[in-house]
């Protein structure tokens, strides 16, 4: 268990929990919910994390990523 901002580039992870309700609702629309498997594409220094959900690229601000718990995808 770790948070999305700590994942290294290229790693494949499963979303466990999105802490903020508002962010969670928006993320579901983008197809990103608890249980989704994503690949970490880019990490900007202290900045946004870019992830691939399989069909699209999303950019998440660092403080959003910090509040998303993930685990290594099998």
């Amino acid at each position: 268990m770790t948070t999305l901002d700590k994942v290294r580039r290229g790693a494949k992870v499963e979303i466990c929990r999105i802490a903020d309700g508002h962010v969670r609702a928006q993320a579901i629309r983008f197809g990103l919910c608890e249980g989704s498997v994503v690949t970490c594409g880019e990490k900007l220094p202290a900045g946004p994390v870019v992830i691939y959900t399989g069909w699209q690229e999303l950019a998440l601000g660092r403080s959003i990523a910090r509040n998303i718990t993930v685990k290594e995808a099998s």
Partner: protein, 605 residues
């Protein structure tokens, strides 16, 4: 909006960047803006189409009230008779969420499955008939940019149907509907929309997440059944996309783009083109002719003669500046901006600069109003609506009003600073940039509340369509002239009256402590400031007449840049942010402009 009798509301709904505007154009024969970034249009376009009134909505990922665009779209959708839902075949997984929500709202829907060609090229096969069967509404494949599928879509509008809604919330929905509201309103209340609930005197339900998750699951199931995907990724596209957000490559790319823009607007347009339009055509041919003509009938000393063809004349200065100087610059800027917008680069830029903007209480999305501000601060101020919180909107508006010079002004500034050499350009940029950072940081500390964070999707980069870029440039430039021209003529009249009555000299003398004493500029600079209250570029242009040392030019330019935004802009600020914040920003810009100007004068002196 009141409808003519017998007309029905036909509403275009879709995620951002799916080509809605092309559908609007195609159906009504009118052009509206096509843009690649979520949130550059918040206005609703309407036009008659057959028995319908066709309405465009801002691109949204779902119906609710997360931000201004969604609220605008929501209110139009709730009153829709029929919805044409435009879906991006490439991003079906994302877009069908909205489709299913529309169906759950109980609105008659027809789906246009757009960008079918790109989906096929990317290795996706979509079983359209099966998709239609799953959703329970007509699905028409289209390729909007190539005008394919429109006939079939038009033929199917009347066949729009209700589709298969989520059955599990029916009993709660029925209870709400029984109180006399529509199904759409009822669903939004269940999904926790407090604004809609308030309108109906109800409490919002805490069911949003449950409903959303089930909807997402259903969409994923449909996708699994109708889509067969073989991943064919275009290599250059993906690589360039990565490079654009990775700082090591992204920053050089950004600088290359900015340098190209500077070369194109600041050098080619501001010097070569303007040299031709202003010097040769407007001053050399037009002005000579009109002055000679006017002075044949009016005395060059009399009020009417001065008003029409004097130094600040209605037929001399105003058209020369407007068409000779500003128009070419504005066209150049919008051309560059349209290319950026249509390439899909802006969301990646938002990602790249997000970190820097968080320090100013903004997130990466705010780069869009800021960039638009370099075109027209007034227009950019309207766009700040898309920012997530009130404090972000205030910060962005203040930064725009105080520190961002608009394209017209940049042109004049570039013209004045270029002869002084590169070092003066660098100093000027550094000063303005420092104020930008300082103002943002201070406002971020002072304003209460919390800012929202970046959460955007990054569309693939694509080559802009030449025709689209030109149409857009044409329309935006036209809008600029329509907005700027009346103010220009007004300013010309005001200055002439001030000059003729001697008020200008009086004001100049009265402000000597400020101009000569504090800023160490000649007293005639007052004229530039008075003009600057009307339009900022007008103010900068006023410096052209004066004989200034390089240091004085720099002080004058910095002061004029930070000086109050134009009248149109201030009116929009008051309308958007309320008169209190508007006046505060206006007053603040006076203080900052003169304070910084004086300090620079001392540092240089």
């Amino acid at each position: 909006m009141e409808l003519p009798k017998g007309k029905k509301r036909l509403v275009l709904v879709g995620n951002p960047n799916v080509g809605k505007s092309i559908f609007f154009n195609e159906l009504t024969g009118r052009y509206v803006d096509v843009s690649n970034f979520p949130g550059t249009t918040v206005e609703i376009h309407t036009a008659p189409y057959g028995d319908y009134i066709l309405m465009d909505t801002p691109g949204v990922y779902g119906v609710s009230s997360f931000n201004e665009e969604e609220r605008v779209a929501r209110d139009v959708i709730l009153h829709a008779d029929i919805v044409i839902n435009i879906v991006d075949a490439l991003h079906l997984e994302r877009d069908l969420f909205l489709t299913q929500q529309l169906i759950d709202m109980g609105i008659a829907t027809v789906v246009a499955l757009n960008m079918m060609d790109e989906a096929i090229r990317s290795g996706k096969t979509i079983d359209v008939a099966k998709l239609s069967k799953h959703l329970g509404v007509p699905v028409i494949p289209t390729v909007a940019v190539k005008k394919q599928g429109f006939q079939e879509l038009k033929a199917n509008i009347a066949k729009a149907s209700l589709g298969y809604a989520d059955p599990r919330i029916q009993s709660e929905l029925d209870k709400l509907i029984a109180t006399g509201m529509g199904r759409g309103d009822a669903l939004l209340i269940l999904e926790g929309d407090e604004e809609v609930a308030f309108c109906h005197g109800q409490q919002a339900f805490p069911l949003r997440e449950e409903i959303y998750l089930r909807r997402r699951q259903r969409v994923n199931e449909i996708i699994a059944d109708v889509v067969q995907a073989k991943q064919i990724i275009k290599k250059w596209n993906k690589l360039l996309g990565q490079w654009a957000v990775r700082p090591v490559t992204g920053v050089p790319i950004l600088f290359a783009i900015l340098m190209a823009m500077y070369w194109f607007i600041g050098v080619f347009v501001a010097q070569t083109v303007v040299g031709l339009t202003e010097e040769t055509i407007m001053l050399g041919i037009y002005s000579e002719f009109i002055t000679a003509l006017i002075f044949r009938f009016f005395s060059p000393e009399g009020f009417l003669g001065l008003l029409l063809a004097g130094e600040f004349g209605l037929l001399t200065m105003a058209p020369v500046y407007l068409f000779g100087l500003l128009l070419p610059l504005v066209v150049g800027f919008y051309l560059a901006l349209s290319l950026l917008e249509d390439s899909g680069y802006l969301p990646r830029l938002a990602t790249l600069v997000d970190r820097m903007l968080t320090g100013l209480g903004l997130n990466g999305r705010a780069i869009i109003p800021i960039i638009l501000g370099f075109g027209c601060v007034t227009m950019a101020t309207i766009t700040t609506r898309v920012l997530g919180s009130k404090r972000e909107r205030i910060i962005a508006t203040a930064l725009l009003g105080v520190t961002i010079p608009c394209s017209a002004q940049i042109g004049v500034i570039a013209g004045l600073i270029a002869p002084l050499g590169f070092s003066y350009l660098v100093i000027y940029v550094l000063i303005i940039f420092t104020i930008f950072i300082f103002l943002g940081t201070v406002l971020n500390k002072l304003l209460p509340g919390e800012s929202t964070h970046l959460l955007i999707d990054l569309p693939p980069l694509r080559l802009p369509q030449v025709k689209n870029v030109f149409t857009k440039t044409y329309l935006k430039s036209l809008a600029f002239i329509k907005e700027a021209a009346p103010l220009f003529f007004l300013a010309a009249v005001a200055i002439t009256v001030l000059a003729y009555t001697g008020a200008l000299t009086g004001l100049q003398n009265w402000l000597v402590p400020l101009t000569e004493g504090w800023l160490r500029l000649p007293r005639e600079t007052t004229t530039a400031f008075v003009m600057g209250i009307m339009r900022r570029d007008f103010g900068a242009a006023g410096l052209y007449h004066l004989t200034l040392t390089p240091q004085q030019t720099l002080v004058g330019l910095v002061t004029i840049t930070l000086f109050v935004p134009c009248i149109a802009c201030i009116m929009v600020m008051m309308k958007e942010r309320g008169w209190k914040d508007g006046v505060a920003i206006w007053g603040g810009s006076f203080v900052i402009a003169f304070l910084v100007g004086g300090i620079i004068a001392r540092l240089l002196g």
